[in-house]
Subunit: 302 residues, 4 copies
């Protein structure tokens, strides 16, 4: 079991990917120098963890649970990880994460995966969010060679026949992986009520089951501050706080991803039916949160 | 209290509007001649009802309650009233009434209020319903003189400043009243979960609290077979039975009325917020179901 | 040949429809009393016209020709006919008529045929025009009985199979006839370049070949001030003068009529291909300007 | 002056970018082996061209002029350059190039610049063209690092304030340059009537004034087979031949580029007013055809 300790790895250790460094406790509080000396106690810590199998959350977040207020979760994340933490903003109702982050009065980072196939409305929404919160979003763009290889061979809509995983892999997962490799923690808008099957047990804070961060495998913390909010609660909040929202939400869209893989839903229809609707309902993760699908977590690793 | 009896009023009696005729029991079973002789027992009946104040449902419908299946309700309505009964179809999810009526295998009538301001999509949907169920919808159109008087004086959007009642009065209520005056019963798609305040206590069958039918005041029966279905149940049914639906429902619209007075709602927003959104939430009836609003029933009578 | 004279028929004569009154010269200048005495010279006038077969324009408009400026034409019309003249506004680029009328600084009337099937955008545009020019548009609405008879028998889209004439007859021609029967002149936005075949020889001013006005057959004057402007000239003017326009024009629509009978055209496609596209290109008049179709003028008369 | 000769550079020479190789005549007829021996006469050829300043078209295309049929032009291009030539397809009415190429019965290549900001309709249109003509389009995608640098610093809509050149440079010009560097000739849909100012003198065939191809500067041939067709002729042809077209053309769009930089135009408005409308009308080239703007040809070179 991993725990937060007083000892810190050196910067080079944190970035190295040797098995050793992955076991070093990396949860460095904000305000402390990055290159903190790591003197005593380290071997002891290592000793404690030598037999560790399942990584666990740093102790600082042990108190976060399903009753935690989202602002409290985000505040804790930003307090501990600072600029090594960023919000993953999809351009949908997870804009509430940005709103809550702004309420903490702490500086915060936001990134977004621009797959090259988003709705024009989503690009405009990103722009509105940037202006409203006076932030710059760190857009992550897919690799030209990878995209060209896919679309020159299979066309622009291969996902309808081959499934969305290949395209998501190129346009979302790889850019996300690249971005997460620069972070120690990220904050997502996942909620338990979003997905039939795949998101029913999302914790408010977890060690990322899929991706490695700056510190290597098993060291990236993933916060899901909205995990226990219902869609209705999120939307009531957006309306009450007059948070800007994607105009697609005025046209029947609930969950919003890439344009060809998103559609409006009918009244009463589950939002997830608006995503990859030609595929099995219980496997609707694009790889970003692949760990939610039992047994699939490792498959999307390199 | 009104009850069904073996005696029938003459046709002329049924159409007269004297207080007397209103106390005659008019629930004539289908298949019996309209001009049934009314011989014995009538005065006795009148005697019974001499002190009646609140009209009540014919006994045949006494067994209908919140547990009644919608098809059962419609079947009873059609069995008793036949072609003196018609479905009021708004062009929204109350298409389920048409589906259920078709399941009874009985002939049935459908009318719709074409206000002259419906969405193009709604007109197309009416057409689709006509073809799908092989029916003709009886469209009711507003009076030219009345419409011209309103719009030449106040323009085409007076409802935004003066409230929707005046326009609804001309375009919906008067044509409805004219149509209902030819009927002994009508079937609506009202549901308890539709309206915050106004529709919370809708019964499955009732004496229409607002409109007179062919038989005069207090003699028109109003069936609300969907009263106890939730929006979600209605929509699950529409999808499972592959009932045709208004394409506006694919663009965020739930409740659908006239184009300028209807809008899509946001995820999680109550459907009634998509209607007359510039007005007080608890008074959103257009006059068709004015009786739902406490104390307003009489105001929309002539 | 009809000519303007100093003698005026009495009001009752003007409104009577006897053959006699139709030969009385009715072009009464504005500012003169309506009930002008008609003393001498009348029989002489009648004598002159006793053998007239083809009605002709009053002399005051003799100088109007294809070189006349549209504002000049409208000014002449308003000067002579005043409130017995009105602009027929379709909700399309003939808004330029309203602009030009406003430039005359004379009071002017505008009417519009609200068929009950216009685009929502067109209703909004009417409203915008009312506000922009501070006028009230006289909307003409079709007769409920006629509309119901058509749509209850044939559905809402009979024009796609039976041709548009029947529906136009009910929703446009009859309301127009009713409106024109109160006028001595009307002003339309017809242009020569609009229609392949039917509008190639439209004069700037003419005796209406189809409709009767207040004075009876052959006495209604029809002005077409834009007859000799090209579509490009009209649109350049609209843009330069910043005249409000129907937002449908931003979505590929050129000619705009009823919603189900109008569509956007492709680049370079003739505007008339956006109307009644399922019908023969050379017969695209809705009855309003039926006189344009050779030999059809009389057929649309009562 | 450059001319076609019987001598061919070796493959390696053709790809080298030394000044020398640029003077070697590279117009190799199709069907001849790529690795043609280059023995005698070469120095003579070089001698001829030693003083060349302005590159000129190979003699084979000397007969192409404004009267040349577009199919003839494309046929000549494909005959001479084969798979070293490709059509640049923008997703608009230049689909006619693809149609004409298919009429030559020769194999042909098509590439398209997917800037990551195209309309969803354009992506769908690409797919339709691939299916209709049974081809694979070679999509060119912008470099992730370049895109991220731009949008992380300036946001997603910097072109509205800074001008479109920077964004076009990253998303269109660089990917185009990369693609052209693999070609000896390209075929574009430029027309003289497209641009007020910038495209008035486009020849049917020219040495590309802006880009280098496989053979180096001054050796890339650019064909503009539609140069002398009017917009109306192009569209009449598309309709008559039932060539698939971008559905945006049904919504008022004429010229189509990136979504945020394209808009529908009003009736009669020049198509170029639908592009970069916030900028000076006479400088509307994105860099692809920068050579059209006098004096700007060299500026967009590396």
């Amino acid at each position: 079991m991993f725990q937060f300790t007083a000892g810190f790895p050196s910067s080079s250790q944190r970035r190295s990917k040797c098995a050793c460094s992955r076991r070093v406790i990396a949860w460095r509080p904000l305000g402390q120098p990055k290159r903190a000396t790591l003197r005593s106690g380290r071997s002891g810590v290592l000793g404690i963890h030598a037999t560790a199998v399942v990584p666990s959350l740093p102790a600082e977040f042990a108190s976060l649970d399903e009753n935690s207020d989202p602002v409290e979760v985000i505040d804790a994340a930003l307090r501990v990880f600072g600029s090594d933490c960023a919000i993953a903003f999809s351009g949908a109702e997870d804009v509430l994460l940005v709103e809550y982050a702004s309420q903490t009065k702490r500086p915060f980072r936001v990134f977004a995966l621009d797959t090259g196939r988003l709705h024009p409305e989503t690009y405009r929404f990103f722009d509105r969010v940037e202006r409203h919160y006076e932030i710059r979003i760190e857009y992550c763009f897919p690799d030209a060679t990878e995209v060209e290889k896919l679309v020159r061979n299979k066309g622009l809509f291969s996902f309808y026949t081959d499934g969305h995983q290949e395209c998501c892999g190129v346009r979302k997962v790889q850019p996300l992986r690249k971005q997460l490799a620069t972070l120690r923690a990220w904050i997502t808008g996942q909620r338990r009520d979003q997905s039939p099957g795949t998101r029913a047990a999302i914790p408010v804070a977890q060690v990322d089951p899929t991706f490695a961060g700056l510190e290597g495998d098993g060291m990236l913390v993933k916060f899901n501050p909205l995990a226990n909010m219902s869609s209705k609660q999120v939307w009531d909040t957006i309306r009450i706080l007059e948070v800007p929202y994607n105009e697609l939400h005025e046209r029947g869209y609930i969950s919003i991803g890439c344009e060809p893989c998103t559609r409006a839903v009918l009244p009463g229809q589950h939002e997830r039916e608006g995503r990859w609707w030609w595929e099995d309902q219980t496997k609707k993760e694009c790889g970003l949160h692949a760990g939610n699908i039992s047994g699939s977590g490792s498959s999307s690793k390199p």
